[in-house]
Amino acid sequence: MNIVKYSKFYFIFSGLLILTSVIFLFAWGFKLGVDFTGGSLLELKFIQKEPKISELRKEINSVLGTDFTLQESGEKGIILRAKNITEEEHQEIIDTLGGKDEVIEERFEMVGSVVGKELRRSTMIALILALFFITIYVASAFRKVSKPIPSWQYAIAALIALFHDILITCGAFALFGKFLGIEVNIPFVAALLTILGYSINDTIVIFDRLREHIVREDETFGNIVNISIKETFARSLFTSITTLLPLFAILFFGGETLFPFVLALIIGIFFGTYSSIFIAPPVLYSWIRLKEKRSS
């Protein structure tokens, strides 16, 4: 197994993925959910009749005007989205559609725009804090190994892998938002943060092996990287599989509400595993090579 030999190939592959993701993000951005933008969402289920969207549109029109979207959800269900439905309008809509005998209210969310804005800010803070502390932790975990590379370079390599995973997951969700209408909401952020932890976790296990070999052996750095990856390959694969198995169980059997959340986790953990093997160690290796070339 010679991973470092083909470093360029992995870099190009991942580079293309990241580039595409960034383009998606700039072109389409996320389709933000109600929790971030503020606004309302009403999910109703009809007890008897199959709802006819066009008729319902007219009825809701009489309460809300034209500024809303209506879509079907499952059998006999509808989801109504609008900028701001007040409590009074909410009750009026239910009455208009036949009251409590006709419809069951499955879900109603109304988020003020101020609350949405605050939430966006606090999630940003959470992401930045998490990155900050993880960097500090990784740097300090590797403080004792400084040959042939200083410990902070481990941290940077791990962070590059991390950005790789996060960017690709985000890019995928920009794509899903554009074509499948999947929204980005608070659970998505939780998923991102979990990916953050997981991705680093995966990289650290390989780096941990690396630091064990560096202290003990007199191999070239490239060989040490290869040996370390080879020895940890099965474990990287297996821990990811054992994590992905229950996630797939939720994806297929866990119901709609958790779907986007789990999807994000699966994508992130998949790429997290990939990057911990094919990105983080090669980055470290290329770094050394670059230094060697410069000094010679």
Binding site: G112, A126, F133, Y137, V189, E231, L245, P246, F261
Partner: protein, 462 residues
Amino acid sequence: MLRDWILVILVLAITVVGGLFAIPGNIAKKINLPVPEQFEKPFKLGLDLQGGTHLLYEADLSGIKKADWEESANGLRDVIERRVNLFGVQEPVVQTEQTSKGYRLIVELAGIDDPAEAIKEIGKTPFLEFREEMSDAEKKKILNMLPPEQIEETIKQVEKQTGKKVKKEDVVDYLPLYTPTELTGKYLKSAKVDFSENTFEPYISLEFNAEGAKLFRDLTKKNKGKTLAIYIDNQMISSPTVQEEISGGKAQITGQFTIEEAKELARNLSAGALPVPIKLISQQTVGPSLGKVSIEKSVNAGVIGFLLVILFMILFYRLSGIFASFSLLFYGVLILSLFKLIPVTLTLAGIAGFVLSLGMAVDANVLVFERLKEELKEKESFDLAINNAFSRAWTAVRDGNITTLITCLILFLVSSGFVQGFALVLGIGVLVSMFSAMIITKLYIKTFSNTKLGKLEKLWTR
């Protein structure tokens, strides 16, 4: 060696007993095991699972001096809390939350039938009224209309409180049955706190306007020798006995108040309204049926996920995998029991976090078993290889888990609601999994490797 066997049996016993306790639906009851009452403890379910409504109000503090903001916000919370208690919701949540610009009020009502009605009630002004005792005939009538279970329940309660045996016919004596009168907060002129000259206990003195004074005089005249109940927001605050007819329009509310409580009550009463106006700025309501479906589906997913992980571990690590599965079972049972005991409010996200943690919990074991394979290649003795595998995998296990714990901690501190539940569950999961994977699995493997099984090295790993 004996010690190890005792520990193994102990762990297995904990797994079985914990499993009976932790698994929903209580298997113990179903198979008619004689389990005590305390054994059955339900999970605490979040709003998204049992249905309910989450309301966020902004308190308008513009008319109030900044120094008094906190007090007003607390007053507001207490008023709303009293009102919310009327809805018969189990463990309602009423909290204030300080923001950079002022105060917010969070109200969570679980399993409520009619959120619209609740929202209406919450916005109302506090309601003071005086009620008089019903006649015995009326009480009897009501007693006959009550369902027998409720009467029994009341008897139990009364017996608990008084320590005396109570017959069904006598329940009326203990029932606080009052009927509303015309005298309400509408006729209130002022309310303030005074202190009793003898006991220094605080009480609230009320002053009625002319019309109210007349109503109060008639009421006290009619009910001399009986009790007169004072209700605020439909809740009885006190029920003093009327000694004599009172004219002049002054009344007192005494009760087990602290000075703070009395002050706040007086303040709320004289304001005649919520201490500050509130505005609903966010609302989330989940219907009970959606929650039920969510639970069923996620429990299914959890079981399937668990079985898949076990299958995988046994397939790839054989005997070691079997022992890892046993310790995963122990892990699951321990976590679920902790959720019940702490208790952790389980949300959909929490369940997802738990299912995810099932996969992550075997991470440490995978690390150890992979290491074990390597150690065995070095032709070490089996015993030594096991010891080395566990101790050498430890740094990686530790470092890997700490990053997850860091993210959990940040998620927990910075966020709220959905994410917080997820972070808490995942964090507890990571901590407990380190224990189960490093201590419990090791115990199983060490103990059983000393039996005849230990001679069959090939069986232990792939």
